[in-house]
């Protein structure tokens, strides 16, 4: 193995690895979750929401969450922007649009293709055919990658749990109510139908109809229809003033209002996971190739070292044999010319001289080594 061969192998390994990555990126569609046609969703019409917190109370009750410090009829909690947590799966926040108070409930949006699921290496999250994003904590290792991945900052962590802390978020009341044919608790509690439950496809049509039937009332945009790859829970926002009565259908205009009610319209319309499948797809490649690559390089170095050693040894051996042969020849000549005694003395002297030389050499080598 020489340098050229080594580089050739390294290069081809790189190409194979790159090809593999490209294939993964292309095939990402198969990595995303299937879009369930008949999945359920909820349309949140913020123009109707009155900020009564009934949904929060219903959620707390049905999920047996701990009692909050301040009661649910204390509306002053809305003076501060709140986030969902492990013990508050839904919160209503107060915003201002065009000088008017607007309330928005937030909870897990139950994405069509959830970012939390794409980030979880323990496969705790799954998109269910009914539309909910379910969490199964039995394998959860508590890495909280899901919390970082979520574009809506939804999952909460049980930080105060010493043993086996879990991630908690809105369940869409899947097992507690949906499967029994009941509406999610918050939807049922809403006094003004600011939350409408239905099949996601129907809700989009309904939202469009509501926008069309009430010109000037809504921003012409359904948040969650395409945002972050589409979500089961979608939001309508009230138009800020009469000036917006002329529909522009411009998502940038919509963004202004949605930004005011705390929703980001710049998440793009691709599922969050799709952005990372390409890069994450190389991980198996690295795991498979790198031991081979570095193991090979190590073996080659070792082999070269062994070969070098063997070569050196053989050279030294030859040299030593040469000296011995020359010495023998010299001694035999002395024996022939000057007799046995002289030959013995000469051999002795020569051996001593050799020894002395080797000793001095070793000393020199040693000193040299120490000097290093």
């Amino acid at each position: 193995m020489n340098r050229r061969k080594f580089l050739t192998i390294l290069g081809s390994a790189g190409v194979v690895s790159a090809l593999g990555t490209a294939k993964v990126a292309k095939a990402s569609a198969t990595h995303t979750f299937p879009y369930y046609d008949n999945s359920y969703g909820v349309l949140h019409d913020t123009s109707r929401c009155i900020g009564c917190r009934s949904c929060e109370e219903a959620c707390n009750k049905i999920n047996n969450l701990p009692k909050p410090d301040r009661p649910f009829d204390d509306l002053s909690v809305m003076d501060k922007k709140r986030r969902t947590s492990a013990y508050q799966w839904t919160v209503v926040n107060k915003y201002e649009v065009g000088g008017k108070e607007v309330f928005r409930k937030t909870q897990c949006f139950h994405c069509n293709d959830p970012a939390c699921a794409s980030a979880c290496f323990a496969k705790c999250f799954s998109k269910q055919p009914d539309g909910s994003v379910a969490y199964d904590g039995s394998q959860c290792v508590g890495c909280r990658y899901c919390m970082i991945a979520c574009p809506f900052y939804v999952p909460g962590f049980e930080y105060d749990e010493a043993f086996d802390p879990l991630v908690q978020k809105c369940t869409f009341c899947e097992t507690t109510r949906l499967q029994k044919g009941l509406l999610p608790a918050c939807v049922e509690a809403c006094p003004v139908d600011a939350l409408t439950f239905g099949r996601r496809g129907d809700l989009i049509k309904l939202a469009r109809k509501r926008i069309a039937d009430n010109p000037g009332k809504y921003v012409d945009y359904i948040y969650g229809e395409h945002d972050a790859g589409g979500t089961a829970w979608m939001v309508l926002a009230p138009a800020p003033n009469a000036e917006a009565a002329i529909p522009t259908a411009n998502p940038i205009d919509a963004g202004h209002t949605f930004e005011k009610i705390g929703l980001d319209t710049h998440l793009g319309n691709r599922p969050m996971g799709e952005y990372t499948y390409g890069a994450l797809g190389t991980v198996p490649m690295i795991i498979a190739f790198w031991p081979l690559l570095f193991g090979g390089a190590y073996a080659m170095t070792k082999r070269r070292e062994a070969m070098h050693k063997a070569e050196t040894e053989s050279v030294i051996k030859t040299a030593k044999e040469d000296v011995a042969t020359a010495m023998d020849a010299a001694v035999r000549t002395i024996e022939q010319n000057q007799g046995q005694q002289a030959a013995d003395e000469a051999r002795k002297a020569m051996v001593e001289a050799l020894k002395a030389r080797e000793a001095s050499k070793a000393e020199e080598h040693g000193a040299h080594g120490e000097g290093k």
């Binding site: 109707r48 009155i50 009564c52 006094p191 003004v192 139908d193 409408t196 010109p215 000036e243 002329i246």
Partner: protein, 320 residues
């Protein structure tokens, strides 16, 4: 010319106002609206074609005299500053002079772009009326809920001139003088009789709304007081009188979507307690009640009761 007139009028007001102050007595100002304009007149869908399409609506009787007194000056409607007939520029098909704005749009458009401050923003009949009912508290409650509809009943409120086909053809060709159009209008007006609205006494005194009573008790809704208050607020409005042209019109805000009747169906007849899969957009009964009450109170800027204060309208149910 327009400016000089306004100037004169302002000067006159100032003089009269000063006189009032000096005399220290309240002198009622004369109605400023009177001018040389026509009284009621018939407005025909004028067209350049002999048999135009989309011009079969009955003509409109427009009471010029009443409207004169209600607007700032002539340019509110005659937006070019030239007091000519609308149909001079806006015909059924549209003309270059009218920027190809058809007569239908000129009368009904509501999405009119606001012009720069030094220009006059044109108004249509509908856009001006819409502004009135939106800015007046007493109208805004119901009209936050009631949306204009495109049906025979709504259109006939204005399109009600009684003309023969021959007159119609002549009118379309713009062959009538202003006087004749006035006479035609008078003919229809003479036939019409004022509408006697239902009285608050025709409805129940109170309605006990308790079909959904759960956490809270039902609400004792003072039906008569609500109706009486609404009627009292608009009793002087000529606009309301002209457009509330059925005895039950006022009832139809809350008792909507059913045929006008003295005994309309209950809310629960259409609004089911559970969500109706066949009509998911229809609010459930609980939401229907709340949206209707809150929608009207919001529109009228009624500060109390607070929307989030359940106990203002409902007693807390006590455990038995």
């Amino acid at each position: 010319m327009r400016n000089s007139k306004t100037l004169l009028r302002t000067a006159a007001s100032v003089v009269v106002g000063a006189a009032c102050l000096l005399l220290g007595a309240g002198v009622a100002l004369a109605d400023e609206g009177s001018s040389a304009g026509p009284a009621a007149l018939t407005m025909f869908p004028v067209s350049e074609k002999a048999n135009p399409a989309n011009a079969n609506m009955k003509p409109v009787i427009f009471n010029h005299a009443i409207h004169e007194g209600k607007v700032e000056d002539c340019t509110t409607c005659h937006h070019t500053g030239d007091p000519v007939a609308c149909t001079t520029c806006h015909t059924v098909e549209g003309k270059a002079e009218g920027n190809y704005i058809t007569l239908e749009r000129a009368m009904h458009a509501t999405n009119i772009k606001k012009r720069p401050e030094d220009e006059v923003t044109p108004q249509s009949c509908v856009s001006c009326h819409e502004a009135r009912y939106k800015e007046n508290r007493q109208c805004a409650g119901c009209h936050a809920i009631v949306k204009p509809q495109r049906n025979a009943q709504w259109c006939a409120t204005c399109h009600n001139a009684d003309v023969t086909p021959a007159e119609m053809a002549k009118g379309r060709a713009d062959k009538y003088t202003l006087d004749v159009r006035g006479e035609l209008a008078q003919r229809t007006l003479k036939k019409s009789t004022p509408v006697e609205l239902l009285s608050p006494l025709d409805g129940p005194l109170t309605v006990y709304i308790d079909e959904l009573s759960d956490k809270y008790e039902g609400n004792r809704f003072n039906h008569r007081r609500h109706v009486a208050s609404l009627m009292d607020r608009i009793k002087d409005s000529k606009l309301a009188a002209a457009f509330h042209n059925n005895p039950e019109t006022l009832c139809a805000t809350c008792h909507h979507r059913s045929p006008l009747s003295k005994t309309p169906p209950k809310c629960g007849s259409c609004h089911s307690k559970e969500i109706n899969p066949a009509a998911p957009e229809r609010p459930t009964l609980k939401a229907a009640y709340h949206l209707q009450c809150m929608g009207c109170h919001d529109g009228m800027n009624v500060a109390r009761p607070l929307k989030t204060s359940c106990v203002t309208c409902h007693k807390v149910k006590t455990a038995e």
